[in-house]
């Protein structure tokens, strides 16, 4: 292995692309090679500088973004006109059916009671007629002889 190979291994290790076991050769090489040692030291420094840079973030940006997030970004009836239509339609149909059923039952009850009233009245009329019929004196009916001319 030459210095370029060792330096590539250093880069892989710093980038997290190779395990520490693969780095053993580099550790033995570093004390004897000033160029690679310097490369390693600078790579480590650059890596830590980039890591520190990466951690900075303006706190004001959090507030700015939070303030600009629309609280009710969805229109009031969004969704109602999409996947919920069948559900609303079914609910409305059910309500109509219940209302129609109740109305029909009310009407039926009314007709039934009026029928009962009519039936009672009819019974009373029959009873009165029978009483009247029985109160009449028996009448003897004599047949009238009729003359037929042929």
């Amino acid at each position: 292995m030459n210095c370029t190979d060792y330096q590539n291994r250093i880069l892989d290790f710093i980038d997290g692309q190779s395990a520490a076991d693969n780095f053993n050769d580099v550790f033995f090489h570093l004390p004897v090679c000033a160029e690679c040692r310097e490369f390693f030291q600078t790579a480590a420094k650059v890596n830590s500088a980039v890591s520190i840079q990466k951690e900075s973030y303006p706190a004001s940006l959090d507030i700015k973004i939070a303030a600009n997030i629309p609280v009710n970004s969805k229109p009031l009836f969004a969704g109602v006109l999409t996947y919920r239509i069948p559900a609303y339609f079914a609910a409305a149909l059910l309500l109509i059916m219940i209302f129609a059923g109740l109305t029909a039952m009310k009407e039926l009850n009314y007709y039934r009671s009026s029928l009962e009233r009519t039936s009672i009245q009819l019974d009373e009329q029959i009873h009165k007629t029978e009483l009247l019929f029985h109160s009449l004196a028996p009448v003897e009916v004599t047949p009238v002889k009729q003359n037929y001319y042929y």
Partner: protein, 169 residues
């Protein structure tokens, strides 16, 4: 429903905000532009939250959206639209470091990044500052994974050797 969306959004935001911010910052070079891009990207995410099916690749989606924003802004800039004001230009690239040596090193890294070709610089930024995988970088830039890998070796070696030389001086 709204609360669930807000909760999930907050988690994604906290997880990926730095990656999007540093990508935008390194690509544009200006804090205010980077902040605008981050804001734009995350508001877009919030709007399209219910249409996104695969949240495993959300980082990829965020970086891709940020990239579109960066390039559309740079096109506007080229077309003559005024994007950066003087306050922006006076702001340094990157952030203030407590440690002077680290500050100097950050400056050197930024200088070296600016010397790189735009394609190469973007690969390095996507890997180092946004933490994308080789596959994701290949997807964002529409190039092969092998090319990403070989370019990254090239960039890192150049960067480290140049910085090493400057530190010695």
């Amino acid at each position: 429903m709204e609360n669930t969306r807000l909760f999930a959004f907050t988690q994604i935001y906290n997880q990926h905000k730095k990656a999007v911010y540093h990508y935008s910052l390194k690509m544009t070079g200006y804090c205010s532009s980077a902040e605008d891009i981050v804001q734009c990207v995350f508001l877009k995410l919030y709007e399209k939250f219910e249409t996104i099916n695969n949240f495993d690749s959300i980082k990829y989606w965020l970086i891709k959206t940020a990239r579109n924003e960066v390039y559309s802004r740079s096109r506007n800039k080229m077309n003559g639209a005024k994007e950066f004001d003087e306050a922006d230009i006076s702001q340094p690239m990157g952030n203030v470091e407590a440690d002077f040596e680290m500050k100097e090193l950050s400056g050197l890294i930024n200088d070296e990044l600016n010397l790189l070709e735009p394609d190469f610089r973007e690969i390095y930024i996507l890997r180092e500052y946004s933490g994308l995988t080789y596959d994701e970088i290949a997807g964002v830039l529409n190039i092969s994974k092998e090319l990403v890998k070989s370019r990254l070796y090239q960039i890192r070696t150049t960067l480290i050797k140049n910085i090493s030389k400057k530190l010695k001086d």
